[in-house]
């Protein structure tokens, strides 16, 4: 909710999001007192629009996404021990290797979610400005409330149960390909840990809407680092140097070379990820929110444009020449002028003129 307070000599404005209240000061002829007291400052009122509708909205969206994913990942990680308690005499024996527990939240899963929190965009900045209604979920606290937290918890609990019980059922009677014993605690730990890392990485992949280079690097890099550290820690070398600290010697080499273990990991990963994907897909198809509609339209617009009426009217009307000169002098924050032929075409097609402006602006800029 944005509100402006007018005072005698300075104008203050405050922007609130569900997670953080920030102070914004606008420097003006009257002085810089607001700038001194604020978190962010700028010089013109029109920048407030971009601050609220683009960055404020993105900030809320990213924060909610981040929180949702973080709770989900930690529920999935921790509650496996709850299920294991029934099978280890409630002795609080950990399922995972101690090193995995230490490194999971620091190394294996921290960077992808950091990249998502920094860069993710659900809709582009132009669309955010064109559709101010997209700001409403922030005002109404729709993206992360008690209901969303409950759903996130539910997904975390069900993921943890699948992560435990599928390997449990498989390992009850499993032996290695050479007949020797494999259902031991260390192999069980490595299998569940690997499945967990794969599941949460796939989940962050599905949750990230805006894949920059940094996102790619962090996501795939975390997965590679997991396997690298796994094999390094369970090698003979580390066991030789720090014998008591690295008891999982040889586990990764023995169990990740077994086809049956990889089949267990594949099954667990698919069964954990697919229901969530199915539910979110159905939600978008059957009950699309404004965000979903804007995303779909911007995704389809390049395709849709080619199936609209061609360039004939544009060229014969001679408007494209005027269009290019007008757009080159346009201000950065402003929108390109809409010519009448476009409006006519769009009214015929019953599409939204604001969206198509962005698309028709591109071919019209050719000189």
């Amino acid at each position: 909710m944005a509100y402006l307070k007018f005072q005698r000599s300075a104008i203050h404005s405050a922007v609130s999001s569900s997670a953080a209240h920030i102070g914004v000061g606008i420097s003006g002829q009257e002085g810089m007192q607001a700038v001194l007291a604020s978190d962010y400052s700028f010089a013109q009122f029109r920048y407030l629009r971009r601050l609220l509708l683009v960055h404020g909205r993105w900030s809320y969206f990213r924060m909610c996404n981040f929180l949702w994913y973080f709770f989900y990942k930690n529920f999935a990680f921790t509650l496996v021990h709850f299920w294991y308690g029934f099978f280890c005499g409630f002795s609080a024996q950990t399922v995972y290797d101690q090193w995995f527990i230490t490194l999971f939240n620091i190394v294996y899963t921290s960077l992808p979610v950091l990249a998502m929190g920094l860069f993710d965009q659900d809709v582009s900045d132009q669309n955010s400005l064109h559709y101010p209604s997209l700001y409403k979920p922030g005002q109404q606290n729709l993206f992360f409330n008690k209901r969303q937290f409950f759903l996130c918890t539910l997904q975390g609990v069900s993921t943890s149960s699948l992560l435990f019980f599928i390997p449990y059922a498989a390992f009850s009677v499993m032996v290695k390909e050479d007949g020797s014993y494999i259902s031991d605690q260390q192999v069980f730990a490595v299998t569940i840990a690997t499945s967990l890392v794969i599941v949460v990485t796939v989940q962050i992949g599905l949750d990230t809407h805006y894949w920059t280079v940094v996102n790619h690097f962090f996501v795939w890099g975390s997965l590679i680092v997991y396997f690298a550290i796994l094999f390094a820690m369970q090698s003979d070398g580390m066991f030789g140097i720090f014998t008591s600290s690295f008891p999982f010697v040889g586990t990764a080499r023995n169990c990740l070379s077994e086809k049956s273990v990889w089949l267990v990991i594949l099954l667990t990963s698919v069964v954990c990820v697919v229901p969530g994907m199915a539910v979110s897909f159905l939600r978008v198809e059957l009950f699309p929110t404004l965000t979903d509609k804007v995303q779909t339209s911007s995704h389809r617009s390049a395709y849709a444009f080619s199936h609209q009426q061609g360039y004939g009217e544009l060229i014969t009307s001679g408007k494209n020449m005027k269009m290019s000169t007008a757009s080159s002098t346009g201000s950065p924050g402003g929108t390109p002028q809409s010519s009448t032929w476009i409006e006519n075409m769009l009214k015929r097609k019953n599409a939204v003129s604001c969206v198509s402006d962005e698309i028709t602006g591109a071919p019209a800029k050719t000189d």
């Binding site: 420097s27 810089m32 700038v35 400052s41 010089a43 013109q44 920048y47 099978f87 280890c88 005499g89 002795s91 024996q93 860069f119 064109h130 209604s133 599928i166 449990y168 498989a170 009677v173 032996v175 290695k176 390909e177 007949g179 020797s180 014993y181 494999i182 259902s183 031991d184 605690q185 809407h209 805006y210 894949w211 280079v213 996102n215 066991f239 014998t243 008591s244 008891p247 010697v249 040889g250 077994e258 049956s260 089949l263 099954l267 697919v274 994907m277 199915a278 897909f281 159905l282 978008v284 198809e285 404004l290 995303q295 995704h299 929108t335 809409s338 599409a351 003129s353 604001c354 402006d357």
Partner: protein, 306 residues
């Protein structure tokens, strides 16, 4: 004091600071990274991506599941559970109904034995196991397998005592004296006794089976264990009645996947039609949604561009 550095020409948001040296601008750099303009791939879940993915999962999992399930060469012949405490040897006689021509693996199984208890796992000291000798008392049953000829003579089957532990567990260790006589063979005594290594590999679950012996296959087409009656003599060393444990002896062959494991096959076969049927339901429902309308309806406020 800040107002003194402000100029009327600063119209586009430059807030400058007059520190030591020239005026510095506080405006963030106009790079793609800092202005949130990095080029990006923006995937969205559409019917065109999700439904084929589900169909692929269905198609891929069915042959895997069938392959795992019908892989029946791993035959499991368990002896009935025994937990006698009266006598310390036990005979079991049962007929063998198959002629395996590969290695036969002998497992001992335990139920309700919490080797995964935290105190036990914590008490395990790998540096001692690695070389520091320490006296331990490990009790375990020994068993021998005899073959009852149709003639009635008992022939002892040779049981291979090595090759049952993981190769990474067998370290070249530095022991000064044997811990206890697990084996007459000096190469398989003390901490490198493979039975001991197998036992020390902590089980994950309270019901487990561990490899005890291997019966190597014979050359040619001679079955490893010919059809007939076999008897199993067990010397019962470790009582399990006190914690209601049960013991089993399992004879099994293995296949390319390891032992017989119906769970994985059944699980794959279950997931595949679920995914495929969900995808086909969605296929039919989304095509009906799309035929209704091809336009997007937006709130009226958006139709006027600013």
């Amino acid at each position: 004091m800040m107002a003194s550095s402000y100029t009327a020409k600063e119209e586009d948001g430059h807030i400058t600071v007059s520190g030591p040296g020239a005026l510095r601008s506080r405006k963030p750099e106009n790079t793609a990274f800092k202005q949130q303009r990095l080029p990006a791939w923006q995937p969205i879940l559409t019917a065109g991506t999700v439904l084929p993915a589900f169909f692929i999962i269905g198609l891929l999992f069915i042959p895997i599941g069938i392959g795992l399930f019908i892989d029946y060469t791993g035959v499991d012949a368990s002896s009935p559970c025994f937990n006698c405490s009266q006598s310390f040897s036990w005979n079991s006689s049962r007929p063998f109904v198959f002629d395996p021509q590969s290695n036969v693996y002998v497992y001992y199984g335990l139920s309700n034995f919490y080797q995964n208890h935290r105190r036990y796992v914590k008490s395990r000291d790998d540096s001692q196991l690695n070389g520091d000798p320490k006296s331990l008392m490990v009790r375990r049953n020994t068993l021998e397998l005899f073959y009852n000829d149709p003639n009635g003579t008992k022939v002892q089957i040779l049981l291979n005592t090595t090759g049952i532990a993981w190769w990474t567990d067998k370290h070249p260790i530095n022991w000064r004296r044997p811990v206890f006589d697990l084996d007459a063979d000096e190469g398989n005594n003390g901490f490198i006794n493979e039975d001991f290594i197998v036992w020390m590999r902590t089980a994950a679950l309270p019901t487990f089976r561990k490899l005890y012996r291997i019966i190597n296959k014979k050359s040619g087409m001679v079955p490893t264990l010919p059809r007939g009656n076999y008897s199993l003599e067990v010397v019962y060393n470790y009582p399990v009645r006190s914690f209601e444990g049960r013991k089993r002896m399992i004879l099994s062959t293995i296949s390319w996947m390891g032992g017989k494991n119906p769970f994985l096959g059944i699980a794959y076969i279950t997931v595949a039609p679920c995914a495929s049927s969900w995808a086909s339901c969605c296929c039919s429902s989304t095509t009906s949604v799309e035929t209704e309308t091809t336009t997007l309806t937006f709130p009226t406020e958006l139709l006027t561009c600013p």
